[in-house]
């Protein structure tokens, strides 16, 4: 693959540099395309423009200070990354999380899945020229961020939850905002679907564009909505349930062609299923503690820190990152916004991880991009990229 040479066989090809900063690629992606007129003959992807050495960084930080790093992986659904990391550490130390905290986590994770899919699906529409729906549905994403803000004080890079549970219970205001969202979002989503789903232009632009077969998708390590669009019903929430996902009833939508339209539709349906899960969680959430009894990892009440010696000691140890953890290696994965987000953690018993490896779904499936756009038009390549939901932060870690 040599994209810079201009003569393959007899023809003259031209080289087009798409990116790294191009308004149509929604992030820092560079693709050097070899073009035959409007047709893509070959392409080479360059990644790493926003590499921040997270794996090295994580080896130098205590466990609770790694959560903010995970925010910056897939920043469209940071809470899922945060929860995934907390659950990895909880698995390592063998902590039991109370049901209430697990349900609260499920609500937050499903909300962020909706936010993630809103971004992806509306952006697919924008790339086909439908700006209206994008502006319309972003209102609801804003509402989700307001709920996050009410729960943890942050919006995009949330740092939500703690090792051992949640940092605080949902406030009445948070419940109110959640209710408001659950009441109004179905109307908005239905409106958007009416606008786009069966729209002739949209269908012409997306059906049979950027398709991938099941075998290829598995070979390339696809997971998440992109794999399900190709027809494999693999979902980590069902295959290896975590955080009480086994308590909820929901369907896994699958596609048939693995093309852009299927990826769009799978995400659409997943939003409805996420709503279903949230409704069940809100209805059945049990009373009880919102964090586990883990004095060595979970910060004590501030009042206790001033009055009780143990609390003061634990507070100091946690803040200074001096808590010892068991030795061992553990892998935990969650269903992230765009696939199986895995954490492989090796601990030598010290204050920081000995090795932390992130299985980042974007990084793994983005290498199929040249194969998916080969033989297609340039404008379809843009659409294929946005429908794969490649997030630069997760790609480059």
């Amino acid at each position: 693959m040599n994209a810079t040479s201009s003569t393959y066989d007899e023809k003259q090809y031209s080289t087009l540099n798409l990116g790294p900063t191009h308004p149509a690629t929604h992030g820092i992606f560079q693709n050097i395309l070899t073009m035959d007129g409007e047709m893509i003959v070959d392409s080479v992807s360059t990644v790493g423009y926003i590499h921040r050495a997270f794996e090295k960084l994580a080896e130098h930080r205590p466990y609770n200070q790694i959560t903010p790093i995970t925010d910056r992986l897939n920043y469209c659904s940071s809470p899922i990354n945060n929860m995934g990391w907390h659950m990895t550490v909880e698995k390592l130390i063998g902590a039991e999380i109370p049901k209430r905290a697990q349900y609260m986590r499920v609500i937050i994770m499903e909300l962020s899945r909706i936010a993630d899919h809103i971004v992806c699906d509306t952006v697919i529409a924008v790339d086909t020229g439908a700006m209206t729906g994008f502006l319309h549905l972003f209102q609801y994403r804003e509402w989700i961020y307001e709920i996050f803000e009410e729960i943890c004080g942050a919006r995009l890079t949330t740092n939500i939850g703690r090792i051992g549970g949640m940092e605080r219970d949902f406030s009445p205001k948070a419940w109110e905002k959640l209710d408001h969202f659950l009441k109004n979002f179905p109307t908005g989503l239905r409106e958007f679907q009416k606008l786009v789903d069966r729209n002739r232009i949209f269908m012409d632009r997306t059906i049979n564009v950027g398709g991938i077969t099941v075998d290829m998708a598995l070979d390339y390590g696809f997971t998440g909505p992109n794999l399900r669009a190709a027809g494999v019903d693999y979902d980590v929430r069902v295959a290896n349930p975590y955080s009480s996902y086994e308590d909820f009833e929901f369907d896994i939508p699958v596609g048939t062609n693995g093309d852009t339209y299927d990826r769009y539709m799978v995400r659409m349906e997943e939003m409805w299923q996420s709503l279903r899960i949230i409704e069940q969680a809100v209805k059945n959430i049990p009373d009880g503690a919102y964090h586990a009894d883990l004095p060595e990892f979970y910060l004590p009440e501030k009042q206790d820190v001033y009055n009780k010696m143990e609390a003061l000691i634990y507070h100091f140890k946690i803040v200074m990152g001096e808590t010892a953890v068991p030795k061992g290696e553990v892998y935990h994965s969650v269903e992230g916004g765009n696939g199986e987000l895995g954490f492989y953690l090796v601990s030598d018993g010290g204050r920081q991880p000995f090795r932390l490896h992130f299985r980042r779904p974007c990084f793994i499936y983005y290498q199929a991009y040249p194969d998916m756009i080969r033989g297609g038009m340039l404008s379809d390549a843009i659409l294929t990229m946005s429908s794969m939901n490649v997030i630069a932060g997760e790609l480059d870690a």
């Binding site: 050495a53 390592l92 295959a239 892998y331 199986e340 090796v346 090795r355 299985r359 793994i364």
Partner: protein
């Protein structure tokens, strides 16, 4: 999950004999440590065996254990998944700093392409037969392998962050 450990262990021992150096459960994962020379063959066998059918390479990563004896200082970890049966296993292998050659598995799984490039980039493993083994996340001009333990977190060229006064 420990039944899975037995099943895979028996299959591997039948096929590769004493190349299986160790097998144990780490939390919910059966982990097998194999001799480096046979790893690729074993991975291929695990994928192609009809019963085991580990058709999916979930992830792989490099490991650096400076505290290990010299012949097992560096390691590689592969995680395989059989989706229909929901079986997951981890294969590990260790090697010395002098010999970081490893047969590529890009012809078994296409997804290994970038995974191997990443581990080459950060640890310097030489994946023999890889179609395009060059740095992927770091800049091409970098002349060291940053994830090795001997390299500090901060850029070694920097001298404006001298912490002598304040410890830590």
């Amino acid at each position: 999950m420990s039944e899975l450990l037995e099943i895979v262990k028996n299959k591997l021992q039948d096929k590769f004999g004493d190349a299986v150096l160790a097998s144990e459960m780490h939390y919910d994962f059966p982990v097998f440590i194999l001799k480096k020379e046979l790893v690729k063959e074993a991975l291929k066998f695990l994928k192609e065996d009809a019963e085991l059918n580990f058709h999916f390479l979930t992830t792989m990563c490099g490991l650096h254990h400076p505290e290990n004896p010299a012949e097992s200082e560096f390691g590689l970890m592969y995680q395989l998944h059989n989706m229909p049966k929901n079986w997951r296993i981890r294969i590990k292998t260790f090697m010395s700093r002098e010999n970081l050659d490893m047969l590529t598995v890009t012809d078994v799984w296409k997804t290994a392409g970038w995974m191997e490039r990443q581990e080459f980039d950060f640890f310097g493993f030489n994946f023999v037969g890889h179609p395009n083994l060059k740095r992927i996340l770091n800049m091409d001009e970098m002349n060291y392998f940053p994830m090795r333990k001997e390299y500090p977190l901060e850029d070694m060229q920097r001298d404006d962050k001298n912490d002598k006064m304040f410890g830590r």
